[in-house]
Symmetry: C2
Subunit: 521 residues, 2 copies
């Protein structure tokens, strides 16, 4: 049997791990875009030879750690406080019970087949590690439409408060910017910046960029949609009148308009068919009894030879001792436990803050599709509820789950609303502003506020002014025999990819230590 | 049984046609975005009471005409020259035979499940009429990814000829434009255009628009991707260095960069699952023996009472006479037939010109997905073959059909290539420039050149300087008892939506005439 290149690379991968395969592929010139493959290089599996590892938390970081270490011959145990895997990767369906720490309880009443992803809800195509696991674990994906040009934008001081299509804001802005820059270039205002030759090219470019007239005026563009749609009569199509730049500046929709260009929100994006939790449930199937559900950690104690974790299960107290521990719980939980970390690590844990994101979801007939031609994508408002996220699942079916409200509660006007009813009212109001007459079609609300969800107490770690997790570097090294994993120990906070990559880091660190006779290298 | 609003509107629709329902919905304030619904208003079905209509051509225009008129009690016959419905809506699979008028013949060798749409390949969500038929005829749709930020752009004078990701061209351009405009604004060059108050808002906007530094410099942006991808180590992510504006101006990729903003190419877009021809085959099922296949029209003759069409079927000559005729063939074919149109109409037909679009498709392993994270979308090159269109069907499966080459042959460098082998070579070369080492993975080529396809002799009617079909208005009215339909008689040339809307126009004209006792109103 001949050794094809593919077989050869797989063989290399099996023998030397992904990084060997990667180096080989690089040397063969097979990876012309290094940014695509770089994450996959991080896993370097070293034979565990029975080394025992207790993993705290069955979210993506814990599951990936257990899955890979188990394959490499480590004896793994995952302690997961809930009766399900996934952590924040939580898909809510009819019958799901939602209990807040403050006693507020809901039972989701969605119809058969309806669901919503309360936590992560999209997989960018650049998140190669997560896509790798979807492929490896046979989790089928479908396109998640993150941007629709027919989605709406609304501000009280724009267009008389009547929502406008995203295509108008995007393309009218580009038109005005192009016309203004062309004027400056023509006046010679940028002659210090642009060579004479480039000046002509710049002006030709701006006509195309903004869809300007030959004399550099922006008079509107078909890119922004139509007042009179192209038909089959004599009447030619008429594009929408441009929104004035002055009004666009006042409306200040820029952050939302540019959301589609955030590196992790660019097309193409995906979602597992049937709900994001298809991923943790696929891990659950593979891991079997490696994961112990209903096991809430109480304390973590280290000795010179191992780590002992005390936990409760069905009211009974248990302990487990292992050679190493991977702590893949959020710091918001870890800070409430009885631990003996070093003062430096303890300071980082106790000093951490968590944001509390919320989502409100409703079951409704798909008026956004039938009457607004919106299929997936996100509408934005400058209101207390500022985000309406349309479903990408089961497009063209009669009913769907629309997320009318997604944001952070701490410090926001939404978070200051006095009670759940006021929050649901704000959600309905946002729908009514975008889709007049349809707020009454919203049924079966579900309100998730991650700060109130047991075993999370937050949606993601708070990043401060510089965008960094406070004390980040301290979490990247082991505290004696305890390693820290989770998206909060990555540069991709709030993303499953960050959680998976943090697991790769820990696996690599542990492997290096074992190769080094148990000493940190 | 209560009369719900939905039932009420359906009842109105049945009694008075779509335009009555539309007017009612408008008056109820249910259509806040008029551009969305305007096409659906065009159909106004009038009872045909046995009026006979012969329809020439079983493409979308002919099929929609026959389907709607049959429902309204007209006796319809469609003459279709081929043994299949759809016209340019043609999906090619393993076993499909392709015969050019010049004798060049291919038999597609694609594997089971592989296909490519040789003609139309996308349905914009604003094309409400076509989406309506997909819904009505139970043609399941999936998202067609028309834009991927991981797709590539290549020009010999950009980045040393090495392809760059679309995200870099888009976001670096926006960054440079923003920085230049901010400089002009700061210099006061636009003080005549912008009020003092707007000036501050404009500068704040430009920082967000271009992702500039606080002192208005563009130093690159994470929107353009990463040199060092965000991971879970201490190393922070590092964005790509910006492509210089000078180089971007030289590369002149603007038209391709802005393709995603063309009104009919904006997200969200769709394709029928399994191939675009699922639409005509759904009509075929509904229409049954109304469509006669293998019937090539030879002549059209009108009298004061009807229209007589002569055609051949299996070598035998036949005629059919009907009260009216709807001619839904391309003018490129009509101009070759024996007809007795008025001199004015005949002049338009004979004066028409057709473009010849081509596509080249290959079956290949999905290296664009596994190695480049490209899932659907289009790469562009400044080369003889300038478009690489990746499949949106069966993402993540082992193999797919990539369209390496789509454009117009007449007058283009591609069209001047001496033979088919040179065209296939140009196609391979484009793949090799974007995906080095992979041109050898391309197998089972199919080359479609619409100018050489019998019963088409072109892809779409040529539009001249003003963007209009020459003599357009003359085709919008009946030549005595013959009506003209097809995308060439619409403002949406080259789109199935234009064909469907032209059918609506003809149906309405015919209905008005019948209400008027057979006289043109």
């Amino acid at each position: 049997m001949g050794l094809t290149r593919r077989n050869f690379l797989m063989r290399i991968g099996q023998l030397g791990g992904y990084s060997a395969a990667f180096t080989m592929m690089q040397s063969l010139g097979l990876l012309p875009l290094p940014e695509i493959a770089s994450e996959m290089t991080k896993l370097n599996l070293v034979e565990g030879a029975g080394t025992s590892v207790v993993i705290l938390g069955g979210g993506i970081a814990g599951l990936v750690t257990a899955y890979e270490l188990s394959r490499a011959g480590y004896r793994c145990t995952v302690l997961e406080a809930r009766e399900r895997p996934g952590g924040r990767n939580w898909t809510i369906r009819g019958g799901t019970k939602i209990e807040f720490t403050n006693g507020f309880t809901q039972t989701c009443e969605f119809s058969e087949g309806m669901y919503f992803n309360a936590g992560p809800a999209r997989l960018p195509s650049i998140h190669r590690t997560m896509l790798h696991y979807c492929s490896e674990l046979d989790v089928p994906l479908e396109v998640e439409v993150n941007c629709s040009r027919s989605a709406l934008m609304q501000a009280d001081n724009l267009n008389g408060g009547v929502a406008v299509q995203n295509r108008r804001v995007v393309n009218d802005t580009r038109g005005h910017v192009s016309a203004l820059l062309a004027k400056a270039v023509n006046q010679g205002a940028l002659d210090q910046e642009i060579t004479k030759e480039d000046k002509e090219k710049m002006l030709a470019f701006l006509i195309e960029y903004g869809n300007l007239t030959p004399d550099y005026i922006f008079k509107g563009t078909e890119r922004s949609g139509f007042k009179i749609y192209p038909g089959a009569n004599a009447q030619p199509p008429v594009p929408n009148d441009p929104l004035p730049m002055h009004a666009l500046l006042d409306a200040d929709l820029w952050r939302d308009m540019l959301a589609e260009e955030v590196s992790d929100w660019q097309p193409t994006m995906f979602q597992p068919i049937g709900g994001m939790d298809r991923i943790p449930y696929a891990f659950k199937t593979k891991l079997g009894s490696t994961v112990r559900y209903g096991c809430a950690v109480q304390s973590i104690r280290q000795s010179s030879t191992g780590v002992t974790v005390a936990y409760t299960n069905n009211g009974a107290k248990h302990t487990i001792t292992a050679d190493y521990c991977v702590c893949a719980m959020p710091l918001s939980i870890l800070k409430t436990l009885d631990t003996d970390f070093s003062p430096a690590v303890e300071a980082v844990i106790q000093g951490s803050g968590y944001d509390s994101a919320y989502k409100i979801a409703w079951e409704a007939p798909r008026f956004w599709e039938t009457e607004y031609a919106i299929y997936g994508g996100i509408s934005y408002l400058r209101q207390t509820v500022g985000v309406i996220w349309y479903p990408s699942a089961n497009l063209f079916s009669p009913k769907g789950v629309v997320v009318a409200g997604y944001g952070v509660e701490n410090g926001s006007p939404f978070g200051k609303l006095p009670n759940v009813q006021a929050k649901l009212d704000a959600s309905r109001h946002a729908i009514e502003l975008l889709h007049p007459g349809h707020s009454k079609d919203l049924t079966k609300p579900v309100y998730i506020s991650w700060g109130h969800i047991p075993y999370n107490l937050g949606s993601w770690i708070h990043r401060y002014g510089d965008g960094y997790v406070k004390g980040y570097d301290a979490l990247l090294v082991a505290d004696r025999r305890v390693y820290f994993a989770g998206d909060h120990t990555s540069h991709l906070v709030g993303w499953q990819e960050g959680a998976a990559l943090s697991a790769y880091r820990v696996i690599n660190q542990l492997g290096a230590r074992i190769q080094n006779g148990g000493q940190n290298a």
